[in-house]
């Protein structure tokens, strides 16, 4: 049997960049956003496309055609917003196995302007088409949100707790000039914003934007030969559970994170909760970081609402969370996980807009779909 611990610290992120801008970009197609991020990340690493021999991204072969490359390792895993964390996880194994040496991972999404985007949607014969769509599902706000009422009834989580996540995250966005929403907000502002799908108000919901990001990974022995300090992959975990929210195993906990991705990432990294300096917890909605914090074991089940209400995650708090302003206030193209990794890399390089002092480790955690797939990364700079 192989042991994932042997792969800890063996592969590093040596290039990382986003598109020139994130937000509203109607002049760029989705593939163009991928490519712009890719070329920016290659510039960041001092490499060119001809140096790339491994590629991971949801378009798969469509992207290799657009970029004009022929990688000898490819991963087209597309399970929603955590796909990019899974690409990193798979790239670590591929590089360690010698399948390739230099991996490019790209994300581009015209989530707001919808330029150059295919829209298949669930067919009426799929499980979603038969058993969810007929009941008036209207995108993630009416699906991702369904478990919350049961968490509230079980643990006493309140709308005020949910609002606190949005308020704390906005405080980070105020410090980030690239963030889309930077005006300060209060708990009352969140509760007074219009109802989207009770218990979610408008300010509990992520933005819908355009943008992209890309990463370059290579082996540890080459990692110091690049212009920027390396960010090592210390631990990883991935899991998939259900597709439709009605089939989530337990509405009160993020089971895949609690049982698989969190324990596996910590074990591989050889680290404990007290060793983590910084968190990126994908915030599609205010409840997502609440479920994540509990499932990953940073607090006990039911304690995350009060923990956020005490502003522990905000600037000056005990454990900084979503320091770019998150999907709630920075940007959210639809599959946000790439942007969570980008901010972790910036913090670990010491180049973040809202830089936290002394960040040596960062844990990045994301869902794909509606808590459907799950991935966790632990990154470090030593």
């Amino acid at each position: 049997m192989f042991d994932s611990r042997e792969l800890s610290h063996k592969v590093a992120i040596v290039g990382a960049a986003e598109t020139d801008a994130v937000g509203v970009l109607p002049d760029r197609s989705q593939l163009q956003l991928h490519a712009e991020a890719a070329l920016n990340a290659l510039d960041d690493a001092g490499l060119t496309l001809d140096d790339i021999d491994g590629y991971a991204g949801i378009p798969g072969a469509g992207m290799t055609e657009y970029l004009g490359i022929m990688p000898r390792w490819i991963d087209g895993t597309g399970v929603g917003g955590c796909s990019f964390l899974i690409h990193v996880s798979h790239a670590v194994a591929a590089i360690a196995a010698g399948y390739c040496n230099t991996v490019l991972i790209t994300h581009g999404e015209s989530g707001r302007s919808r330029v150059g985007v295919a829209r298949p949607g669930p067919g009426p014969q799929t499980p979603g088409g038969q058993f969810a769509q007929p009941f008036g599902i209207a995108g993630p706000p009416t699906m991702f949100s369904v478990p919350i009422a049961r968490h509230m009834a079980t643990y006493g989580t309140t709308e005020e707790h949910l609002a606190a996540v949005s308020v704390a995250t906005r405080q980070w966005a105020e410090r980030n000039p690239r963030a889309m929403m930077r005006d300060p907000i209060t708990i009352e502002d969140v509760l007074n914003s219009r109802l989207i799908a009770w218990p979610l108000h408008l300010l509990n919901c992520c933005l819908v934007t355009d943008g992209g990001g890309a990463l370059i990974l290579t082996s540890e022995d080459r990692a110091r030969d690049f212009p920027k300090p390396p960010v090592y992959v210390l631990g990883r975990g991935e899991a998939a559970q259900h597709q439709d929210i009605s089939q989530m195993w337990d509405f009160t906990e993020w089971t895949a994170a609690a049982q698989i991705t969190g324990p596996e990432a910590f074990r591989m990294a050889g680290l404990g909760h007290d060793d983590i300096d910084h968190l990126m917890l994908y915030d599609a909605f205010s409840h997502t970081p609440i479920y994540a914090l509990e499932a990953l074991g940073f607090v006990k089940p039911g304690e995350a609402g009060p923990w956020f209400a005490e502003m522990n995650s905000a600037p000056g708090g005990t454990l900084p969370v979503n320091t770019n302003g998150g999907g709630l206030s920075y940007t959210h193209t639809g599959m946000y996980g790439m942007f969570a990794i980008q901010e972790a890399v910036r913090q670990l390089r010491g180049e973040a807009a809202a830089q936290v002092d002394g960040v040596k480790t960062s844990l990045v955690h994301a869902p794909g779909g509606m808590f459907s797939a799950t991935a966790t990364l632990i990154l470090g700079n030593e």
Partner: protein, 136 residues
Amino acid sequence: MKPQKPLPEPSPETQPYWDGLRNHELRIQRCKACGLGYFYPRPFCPRPGCHSRDVEWFTASGNGKLHSYVIAHRGHPAFDTPYVIAVVELAEGGRMMTNIVGLEDPTPDQLPIDADVEIVYDDVSAELTLPMFRLK
């Protein structure tokens, strides 16, 4: 003109379920190995630790409990807001998505978690009936 509601199309493995609804019967499947009902239809038990292929169709009571829900205030354009998108835990086992009907202006205090609910058959057309639920 108001957009149309998205309607389901049966697949071979789900046809008995949709046929049952048309006759105002909730026909779902039960695992003979673990004894529990499950939803949606498929030719084996999806329950972790079981996964038996020894399954049978039966007519469920149509009773269940309100497992969780949202009240959509911005929803599908074919639906009048507010409306309740809910997940019901069926008495015999299995969870399904549905709408809670019969509330003029639904609010959280009318909809306690684990409230008893029962099926209401919504005849959309001669060929299609959808399973809705109401508070008991």
